[in-house]
């Protein structure tokens, strides 16, 4: 559905995007991750045909973003990292205005607006001025605006930015529902744990270069190598560290105020041997668990060194 080939964007001597390539098949949710200034927004703006690339190509449903802008605009719903609302317009009028801008017939607009408001749970706010909505509700109204012409692709730039946990959960549920409706979604975000749960694919970008891309589990597995244990003990931790450090499987031991983190190599047998070593030496272990390798680790790994 979305294909990006060696996309490059330069501003004078500064390179914002450096031969970025990735593909997003239909009905996937692609998480676009990267630090500030990595090139996420630039990529999304190029995909939205709002910015011309210096080089490379990008296609939305086969339509070239530099040549078939009208087709691209009819296929995408773009939600930037700001609200973009008008004062003096109610939520219903706000959506109706954009529906009119997409040249939807007047007879159909009312129903479309009502359906969208029902989808995002804003039906009871239809008559409220859009500028007076809370941040979370405003974000939902903006998502409804991006959906007003029923696009096949959604480009969402930091949709959960600044939202409280409840609003984030609600936004996540809406996005899952949209995926169920057949939408292909690109979502850029800093909130990595949420992306792990929401996205089916991921792309990690840093300094304008795509560091890793592919299915979430695959990327995480590729980037996180060592296994880690989180151990809590009763009493002084020095004794536990003294037992752990000489073990051949242990590679590194870190002590924090509340716990010990030990990096090791090996399978489940090794895990049980480590636990046995501690308990047989009389260390009172209160908690012993493996830290799951997550997107956060993968992200840190990817952005700290170049990965092929």
């Amino acid at each position: 559905m979305i294909a990006v080939e060696a996309l490059t964007k330069t501003y004078g001597t500064r390179t914002a995007l450096d031969h970025v390539s990735f593909e997003v098949p239909e009905r996937e949710i692609f998480g676009f991750v990267g630090p500030n200034g990595a090139g996420k927004t630039t990529t999304l703006r190029i995909l939205a045909a709002l910015l011309e690339p210096t080089g490379g190509k990008a296609f939305i449903g086969g339509a070239d973003v530099t040549k078939d802008r009208d087709k691209v605009h009819s296929r995408i719903g773009y939600m930037p990292d700001f609200f973009g609302v008008y004062d003096q317009l109610t939520v219903g009028e706000y959506l109706d205005f954009y529906a009119a801008c997409y040249q939807l017939p007047k007879q159909r607009r009312q129903k479309i607006v009502d359906d969208l408001l029902a989808l995002i749970g804003l039906s009871e706010r239809k008559g409220q001025l859009v500028d007076t909505l809370s941040r979370g509700l405003k974000q939902r109204a903006c998502l409804a605006r991006a959906l007003v012409h029923d696009p096949a692709v959604l480009l969402l730039d930091e949709p959960a930015s600044g939202l409280d946990p409840r609003a984030r959960v609600e936004m996540r549920e809406i996005l899952k529902e949209l995926r169920g409706m057949g939408k292909t979604i690109i979502i850029s975000s800093h909130i990595l744990p949420e992306l792990t749960e929401l996205c089916t694919m991921i792309g990690i970008i840093d300094h304008g270069r795509m560091r890793a891309t592919g299915p979430v589990a695959e990327v995480i597995a590729r980037l996180t190598t060592g296994r880690r244990l989180r151990i809590k003990v009763r009493g002084p931790k020095d004794e536990a560290v003294a037992i752990l450090a000489p073990l051949p499987a242990i590679q590194n031991v870190e002590v924090t105020d509340a716990q010990i983190e030990a990096e090791f190599k090996g399978d489940e047998t090794v895990v049980s041997e480590i636990l046995l070593a501690l308990t047989s030496a009389g260390v009172q272990v209160t908690s012993f668990s493996e830290i799951e390798g997550g997107l956060e680790d993968a992200f840190l790994k990817a952005t700290s060194e170049e990965v092929g």
């Binding site: 031969h19 210096t54 080089g55 773009y78 973009g84 317009l89 205005f97 801008c101």
Partner: protein, 342 residues
């Protein structure tokens, strides 16, 4: 809905109407406009009635009408020169500041329609102000001295001036990212258009050719301002004394010319005393409020002004339409070469 209807009533227009009329600012602006215009009319009428402002005692009813009309129409232009840039200077830059412009660009509405919608909604408000002023201007007919066609021409010039100022405002709003900068530039342009060009005629007048058989005319650019055309319409006179310099150094700055019964034109005053340049009577083809020579020879002042302002409008519109789109199809510069991968 046909193409014309779609252009006239695009979503931007409807949205702007709704937003504008929901605030207290629009009714307040209309009230202040009417109060100021009515107040000026009342003040001028009082001054004439009480022999104030040096109007003299021998004014007839038609003089009352003409003087009142002159003051009103010039004041109306001055008011619109203040109001119109305020209406349009934030049209596009305001969308940028609200960060809504990108959201419009990704819809199916073309950039030109955005400009057109903004212009139409602003100009509708100006037209509303002009309509509101009609009852005040109709008082002029109680005294006479002004015909209906003069009124129509004057309103046409005023409307076109507002259109020009509006389009200049939109052009600056498109060029500048910040509304403040666009507003300052728009007011600067309004000042140049309304006041600057007549002043140019005083500073850089046309040199009179002694062997010329026609009356001299001020520099064409001075007619861009609505002031001369409106004075010409109100007084039914031309201004050959304005903006021309005589060969011996005489410098004419004033003195309207009146049509003589025989068809010639008498220009009173104008020459600097002591320079030996007489006021003269000419039997040239020039008559009434027509321009005697130059680029617009034979044209009425208002006709020349309207045409010149429409040219400025076309330029401002084309500039806005070129600058506004996020990705321009027509390039004035060669795009940079793609960066080479390291």
């Amino acid at each position: 809905m046909n193409a014309v209807s779609r252009a006239m009533w695009n979503p931007i227009v409807a949205k702007e109407y709704r937003s504008r009329m929901r605030t207290w600012r629009s009714p307040l602006a209309m009230t202040i406009y009417i109060v100021l215009l009515g107040g000026l009319g009342w003040a001028v009428f009082s001054a004439m009635s009480n022999n104030g402002l040096g109007f003299g005692t021998s004014l007839s009813g038609s003089n009352y009408g003409q003087i009142l009309f002159t003051f009103l129409i010039l004041f109306q232009v001055a008011l619109l020169a203040f109001i119109t840039p305020a209406l349009t200077a934030g049209a596009i830059s305001g969308e940028r500041e609200r960060q809504t412009i990108d959201l419009l660009f990704v819809t199916r509405i073309p950039p030109f329609s955005i400009i057109w919608g903004k212009l139409l909604s602003s100009m509708s408000f100006v037209v509303l102000l002009l309509v509101l002023s009609i009852p005040i201007f109709s008082l002029v007919f109680l005294f006479g001295g002004i015909e209906l066609d003069q009124m129509l021409y004057a309103f046409l010039v005023t409307g076109v001036t507002a259109l020009t100022l509006g389009l200049l405002g939109i052009a600056f709003s498109t060029l500048f990212r910040r509304t403040l900068a666009a507003t300052v530039a728009s007011y600067g342009a309004a000042f140049v258009l309304v006041v600057g060009t007549p002043v140019y005629g005083l500073l850089f007048p046309t040199d009179v050719n002694p062997s010329a058989t026609t009356l001299p005319a001020p520099p064409a650019i001075t007619i861009l301002s609505p002031v001369l055309p409106l004075l010409s319409i109100a007084t039914n006179q031309s201004f050959q004394g304005y903006g021309v310099r005589y060969p011996n150094g005489g410098f004419a700055v004033s003195g309207p010319c009146v049509t003589q019964p025989g068809g010639g034109t008498l220009c009173s005053g104008g020459a600097v005393p002591g320079k030996g340049v007489p006021a003269y009577v000419t039997g040239s083809s020039s008559s009434g409020s027509a321009i005697a020579s130059g680029l617009f020879s034979g044209w009425q002042y208002w006709q020349a002004s309207v045409v010149m302002q429409l040219v400025v409008c076309a330029f401002a519109l084309a500039l806005s339409a070129y600058v506004l789109p996020p990705v321009r199809r027509l390039r004035l510069r060669r795009p940079p070469r793609p960066a080479v991968a390291e």
